[in-house]
Amino acid sequence: MKIWSVANQKGGVGKTTTAVSLAGLCALHGYRTLMIDMDPQGSMTSYFGYDPESVQPSLYDIFQQTTISRQFTHNLVRKTAVNKLDILPASTAIATLDKQLGAKSGMGLAVVNAIKNFTDEYDHVFIDCPPMLGVLMVNALAACDHLVIPVQTEFLAMKGLERMLNTLQMIERAKAININYTIVPTMYDKRTRASIDSLAYLREHFTEHLWKSVVPIDTRFRESSKEGLPISHFRVSTRGARAYSALLDELTTTISDESKAAAR
């Protein structure tokens, strides 16, 4: 089972679209895929027709338990309209976790421990992160095998990326681990100076971890979310779907190399 977290400390950069698109492609390829919505806004949950205001049980329940049984975690998972694609939904109540938990010891590993129960059931897990540092973000970063950081190709997003990498560095230090990551330029519009300049900036400053291609701006993403389907199951031939397909190929190659390196 491979665990991917999709995170950026700036909102509106395409986190949910990236997580759903990659998860949809994995399901399309026949992999048993789970999506976990860890964003209190519940965009991913809404995407697949569940209401974050009322959905129960949800991710929130994981943080209420001291021990998490296999049966318990399995009861949290819902089906989607897509074969082999399931979701563990977010409820709005997860927005209160930071206030309720503070920095309670070990709560940054609650999701890590819950995900262990899915090892035999899923090939891939995609986590959609909240756009701010807190107990949910820490859980998502602590749990993942590889981090995907979507970055909208516009100037303010560059600052968000720097904040994200700083957070990542601190979590690596706190947990004594290395988290491998890939930066993915999103919403690229070749007609705008902002996109062109931002991409040039990314290529100049973040070469090592930057995906070589881009996810273009594509109105079909909006249409597919309206239908509650990943882009891969809505229009697989669109520019956006092709871009995420290429990204998934790159990521699976990267994570395979990382696994081999770790085994050596």
Binding site: T66, T67, A103, K104, S105, G106, M107, G108, L109, L133, V135, V138, A142, M170, I171, R173, A174, K175, A176, I177, A262
Partner: protein, 251 residues
Amino acid sequence: MSHSDKKSTKLASQQTAVMSYLEDLLLEVPPLLPDLPDNVKAFPKPVSDTSAKLKNPVTDQHAAEVQEAPAVEEPVRLVEQKESAASTTPEAETQTAPLADLRPSWAEQEFQCLMFNVVGISLAVPLVKLNGVIPWTDDLTPMPGHSEAFLGLLRHLGKNVKVMDTATVILPPQQRQQLAPVEERMKKIILMDEGRWGLACDDVGEVITLQSEQVRWRTAAGRRPWLAGTIPDRLCALLDTGVLADQLADG
């Protein structure tokens, strides 16, 4: 009341606050203690009042269970241990030439430390140099040919952690012979130097916030280069983990 009379809330520096928060969240709670209440497993909250007493985070109903463990709140044999290990002795200081400034860069501003106990000696490590605390395990791979302080290799999160008996590292040879067997003493392993080294210890205590002037910094390199200084208010030795890691790497 004039504006200047109001007490301001003293906050830790931004970096320290975030690191402390992350380390608390990511503390690996021992899975073998599911029946203990949360407040026993909990990592102590940072405190800014360095004169506060160490608190025993145990509820009455579990008091009996923990009486066998070393009591954290007692500064056990601190005064005499200060003589033997936690302070720089005059002869140690005079053996080498004084250095201009041995204050580590992390101590230039307010900083936080995790306190821990080793055979009754109270030690502290700066949080910025700490990579985590994990429960003691016997599952160590022994490596022949190393120093007696080297307990073995521990596989943790894909890394090989070299676990050391902290007591053997810090105590003089004659006192090491009186140590109880390792498996009877150890409760926790403190990870440092990016998780490459683990310091096995009796127990961890609270996190304290210190100003640089609250530490009596060493002024010369002596026989204990790993000793950054002492904290008189706590009768406690402050470790320089960077130097300690280098010293351990050199055998």
